[in-house]
């Protein structure tokens, strides 16, 4: 029940919102807020009631189960997803009507938005509670799809469509990595259930590979270097989407997954080191790039990359302090970052500007907003009296455990963070007044104030957040050392590092003109040769290879036959290759009596060769029939006159039919065929090669057949033995009239009916066909493919 209630409320929110949407956009907005609040409340209640687990069979015969648990990790992320969801939805309820009004879109468009946000929330809650890798994957993809629609919400803008597609493809790659990883784990440990896998896992290359693949997928989702480029692009989304997806939900899903599979990651020090490198790179690059940005949301996007870099670094330290610190960091960051995103949205809404260079001095018109977002900014910048102070305290503590170099890097990162936070906040609110500001409506400020209050309260009463983080850490480390974030007024290393951070940050801010060009150059370099280019190049290459493939699929019948013959020849060749050759290919003796046979075969070969040369249909037909007749002669020489007779009969009928059809053909068509351009020389050689190859293998197969006696006494021998008993003079008669008498009668009947039918058809051939023909020609004109083929010839 404790598990089921939050899960059902979160997953059921989207349908409820859609139903409420029937009444209009406002009821839908309220429904979404209420559902999110209920889910948040249910999660809190679940935590208070001590968590719980749910395990039902899904497809029992395949060992698939639905397992959910409300453990510490799940509580933390579910609270973030639902709690910040409430704030963002409250904000959207006012923001979105304005947003739609600006764009001249109907107010009802908002319903879809609310439904998608709560769908995302549901997917997120499902993801964090799932205890089964398969379920994790399912919800993982659900978040990707919901985020695609959310990022591309302004669907008339090409930019946001491209951004949505990029986010989808990149996170799609993360899903692929995850899928391969989980299939590998399933193959290794025979189950998708995460607790069982953790129990059975032992260090080894396969385990490292599987965990590494999953971790790579998680890093992509958390926008870590080098797969970070989709996040700044995704800022094309409406601001509440950015505030939600890129602070508390989508990007958080990545580090959540790292936390979820942490027991597996821990088995491999190599993986942890790799994570450390990725985290450090993201931290430094994200921060430096954030300092160079001008567009408000871009600063925050790069900041998100950097901040999740911290989290990854902390996780990769491999200590319990690191894991708890990471969990705490996620809470502090989500609160502060969503407030800052919403601030950016409000400022843009009231001033119409979204760049720092066109903003300034806004504290005069927006004092409340300035104060609230100032607190949030202080929280992100880790100033004392905010929850953010403790996130850095834990960060420094964890880094110090690993050694001084890490502490130094941590200090640098923290200083950079403080610098860009200042850059962001002071750029909007301080300095000379730039940008006309109207009065913001209350709902566009209130959620920011609420989040700012939380940041401040967390700075005084840190225990609730610390408890949450500790409970989350317990999922990874059962024997957790309790970490107690608190203010200590002494010269312990963490405090010294904090002071060093502030000093460094001040220096960075003061020296801005000195380093700015270097940082901007780095950003440009990244744009020019960075991963975003790889992504674009990859897409182009994919398209190009697809086109090349289609070009290869030439459209004339000859190439098609070649594509059947060559692989067949290869397959048969492999078959022959695999078998012992000893005794499989026997050569008999040729005596004088075989001369007619040999001659007949030679004649057939010559006929076949000749058939490749002529371009006039008539000659071709005659050459082909000469092959048939010479083979008939060979049968006659080999003592099978009946076969020879049948062959001659068939050959004659076919030749006559061919000639008859040819006579009915329009003469021009035949002439076209005869005098048309010769095939390209390369194609000609290909045709020769294909013919020779196919012939060679047909020859080899025939040879092998003839070298081998029949496996069993054939049914023919039996038939010959039984012929006298059937009172027949020869076996053919016996078969036709006796052994297969019923078949013969059936065949005669069928042929008779067919003849009757043909006679009837021929009798009434004058039918109005004109309209059909007319339609056919117009269709032909319409068919582009047809035209291309004609040009290609």
């Amino acid at each position: 029940m404790t598990v089921l209630l939050p899960l059902l409320l979160a997953l059921g929110a989207a349908p409820v919102v859609l139903v409420a949407g029937v009444l209009g956009a406002r009821p839908a907005a309220w429904a979404s807020i209420v559902m999110a609040a209920l889910a948040c409340g249910a999660t809190l209640w679940g935590r208070w009631a001590g968590g719980g687990a749910l395990d039902v069979a899904w497809a029992p015969s395949w060992g698939l189960r639905l397992t959910f648990a409300l453990d510490g990790l799940a509580v933390l992320y579910a609270l973030l997803a639902t709690g910040i969801g409430v704030a963002v939805l409250l904000y959207s309820a006012r923001y979105l009507p304005l947003h739609l009004e600006h764009q001249g879109r109907p107010a009802r468009d908002a319903i879809r938005f609310y439904a998608l946000i709560v769908l995302f929330m549901g997917a997120m809650v499902g993801l964090v509670m799932a205890q089964d890798l398969l379920l994790i994957f399912v919800f993982w993809d659900l978040t990707a799809i919901a985020s695609y629609y959310l990022i591309g919400y302004d669907r008339h803008k090409a930019e946001s469509r491209a951004a949505a597609l990029m986010a989808l493809l990149v996170t799609g790659i993360s899903a692929v990595l995850l899928l391969i990883g989980l299939l590998l784990l399933q193959a290794l440990y025979g189950t998708f259930a995460l607790p069982a896998i953790v129990e059975r896992a032992t260090p080894g290359p396969a385990q490292t590979l599987a965990a590494g693949l999953i971790a790579a997928g998680a890093l992509v989702k958390s926008a870590q270097v080098p797969a970070h480029f989709w996040l700044p692009r995704a800022m094309a989304a409406p601001t509440p989407v950015s505030a939600y997806l890129h602070s508390a939900a989508m990007v958080a899903a990545g580090v959540f997954l790292l936390g979820r599979i942490y027991p597996l990651l821990r088995l491999s020090p190599f993986l942890l080191d790799l994570l450390l490198v990725v985290g450090l790179l993201s931290m430094i690059f994200g921060s430096v790039l954030a300092l160079t940005r001008d567009v408000l949301k871009q600063i925050l996007a790069y900041s998100t990359i950097a901040q999740y870099g911290y989290v990854v670094v902390m996780l990769s330290l491999g200590t319990s302090a690191g894991v708890v610190g990471a969990a705490f960091y996620v809470i502090a960051h989500a609160l502060a970052k969503s407030a800052l995103f919403l601030t950016a949205g409000t400022v843009t809404e009231v001033t119409g500007e979204d760049r720092l260079s066109r903003l300034g001095g806004q504290w005069r018109g927006l004092p409340v907003l300035a104060a609230a977002s100032g607190v949030a900014a202080a929280g992100l910048g880790a100033l004392p009296l905010t929850i953010g102070f403790f996130k850095d305290e834990l960060f420094f503590k964890a880094a110090l455990e690993r050694g001084w170099p890490f502490a130094a890097l941590a200090t640098l990162g923290a200083a950079l963070t403080l610098a860009y936070v200042w850059h962001f906040w002071s750029g909007i609110f301080l300095g000379p007044l730039r940008g006309e500001a109207g009065r913001p409506p209350l709902p566009l400020v209130a959620p920011i104030v609420a989040l700012g209050l939380l940041v401040a309260v967390g700075g005084v009463a840190v225990a609730p957040a610390a408890d949450l983080a500790e409970a989350a850490g317990r999922v990874a480390f059962a024997d957790l050392q309790p970490v107690e974030p608190a203010y200590h007024l002494d010269a312990r290393p963490e405090n010294l590092l904090a002071l060093a951070t502030y000093a460094l940050a001040a220096t960075i801010i003061a020296a801005r003109p000195r380093w700015f060009r270097l940082a901007a150059a780095t950003a440009r370099l990244g744009e020019r040769v960075g991963p975003e280019r790889w992504y674009a190049a990859g897409l182009v290459r994919l398209n190009r290879s697809s086109r090349a493939l289609l070009a290869l699929e030439v459209r004339d019948l000859r190439s098609r036959i070649a594509t059947v013959l060559v692989p067949t020849a290869v397959l048969v060749a492999i078959g022959l290759w695999a078998t012992p050759t000893e005794g499989a290919f026997r050569v008999g003796r040729i005596t004088v009596t075989d001369l007619p046979t040999v001659l007949g075969l030679l004649l057939a070969a010559v006929g076949a060769l000749v058939a490749t040369v002529p371009r006039r249909p008539l000659t071709l037909i005659l050459a082909l029939s000469s092959v048939g007749y010479s083979l008939a002669a060979v049968f006659a020489f080999l003592g099978a006159p009946d076969v020879a007779l049948v062959a001659v009969l068939i050959e004659t009928i076919l030749t006559l039919l061919f000639l008859g059809v040819l006579a009915l053909f329009p003469a021009e068509l035949l002439k076209d065929q005869a005098v048309g351009p010769a095939p390209r020389p390369s194609l000609r050689w290909r045709n020769v090669g294909v013919g020779l190859g196919a012939g060679a293998f047909a020859f080899a197969v025939g040879w092998a057949t003839l070298s081998q006696p029949a496996a069993q006494e054939s049914v023919a021998v039996q038939h010959i033995r039984l012929t006298p008993a059937a009172h027949a003079k020869d076996v053919v008669t016996a078969i036709l009239a006796d052994f297969r008498g019923l078949d013969t009668m059936g065949e005669i009947t069928v042929i008779a009916i067919a003849l009757l039918g043909i006679a009837a058809l021929l009798g009434r051939r004058e039918r109005p066909m004109a309209s059909d023909e007319r339609r056919a020609t117009s269709d032909e004109r319409a068919s582009g493919e047809e035209k291309r083929r004609r040009e290609g010839r």
């Binding site: 497809a59 029992p60 078959g575």
Partner: protein, 496 residues
Amino acid sequence: MEIAPPPFDLGAIAPFLIVAVGAMIALLADLFIPPARRPALGYFALGTTLVAIGACVWLWGGAVPRLAFANMIAVDRFGLFVTIVTLIGAALSILLSVDFLQEQRLGYGEYFPLMLFTVSGMILLAFANDLITFFIALEILSLGLYILAGSARGRAVSQESAIKYFLLGSFSFGFLVYGTSLIYGATGTTNFTALRVALEGSGLTDNPLLLAGLALVLVGFAFKLALAPFHMWTPDVYSGAPTAVTAFMSVGTKVATFAALLRLVTGALPALYADWSNALFALAIVTMILGNLAAITQRNIKRMLAYSSIGQAGYVLVAVVASDTTQPGVNDAAQSSVLFYLLAYTFMNLGAFAVVVALARPDDERLDLDRDYAGLARRQPLLAAAMAVFMLSLGGIPLTAGFMGKLLVFRAAIEAGYWPLAVVGVLTSAVALAFYLRVVVRMYAGESRHAEERPARVPVPLAVVLAVCLVATIQFGILPAIPLDAARGALTITAP
């Protein structure tokens, strides 16, 4: 000496008989029904398939497996499962055709009888326990399809597709017959059961004739299943044939032929596992890569679906490769995932084609992705939503039937140790998302070109098809237990 006539067991082939007799009745009735009442033939055909499904259910509950006609037919749950899937596909295709034929002015004529004859071939294929039966079944099936592909007699592309299909089809049958005769030459039998017995513990597995014969038979299969590089006919035939026919042949043929392939390789040739699994391994990789890659640049939805169906066949093939009878656990998982995938594929693919059919206009089939699908969500939100579900399912997104299918297939591959197949499969299905999702993107984000025109009314039979496919696609993704258990229960390929 007496040659004893083989015993007749008509009850065993009841589904086949029902459909074949139904086809004949429909053919005759066509002569006496006034043209205006011809749609009734469609409902008659539908009824026939439903009765045949009933017969399958009856046989399922009865004493199976059951060998009939001198072991040339094996009626087992495996065959019955496949037959039911085929019949469902056929029933839905018939419903799809009823209004489509009228709308496109194709005329009813022999359409429904031919469809039923084709279905009878598919049923026979599912039960074939002898290379000869198999060959006859394939011929029955193909002859009908050749004509159906050309049934839009007024359209040059349709004629062209029929001729291409016929020529290359006959060509491939040549390989099949040649291969069959080589196998017969090596072992002295064409019967699956007898083949298995003959190959067990004999020195025959190294026989060049046998292996060459196997290679040729596999080529015949590859052609019929449109496995790359034997797939060249597929895009032209699929895009040229009337859409309802394409829908029918893309599911029915594949389902029945895969069943026959599985029965042949695991029921008759388990001794040659090393050989055929390697050949199919290579084919599966080429098919998955080529089918999905080539689909990316297609702008015509029918051609896109044609390449997509090539890729999908590659995924099924992955599970066929994993069907190693020496490892019963793995084999069970692999074979039942083949069955489940075929079932899921039937619904999702038919559903996608049903949307294509729903959009077609008499003067314009509306096949261009950029022109006709852009902005569809605004004009016809329900159709667009349905199409989105089918595309996501074909792309293997969770909570759809397609995802379950892919998951089971890849899991089977990894369990059998074929991790390269699973990796290529996962990667190509990610590539495939590019074109499946493009349809969704076009529908939801594009600018509508036909905005001014009134959306078409979706006729009731078509709506039924869409609803059935939609429900099945989603239900198999969320609650897959029923079809999965049925697929498990069907795992008795008769080989006594």
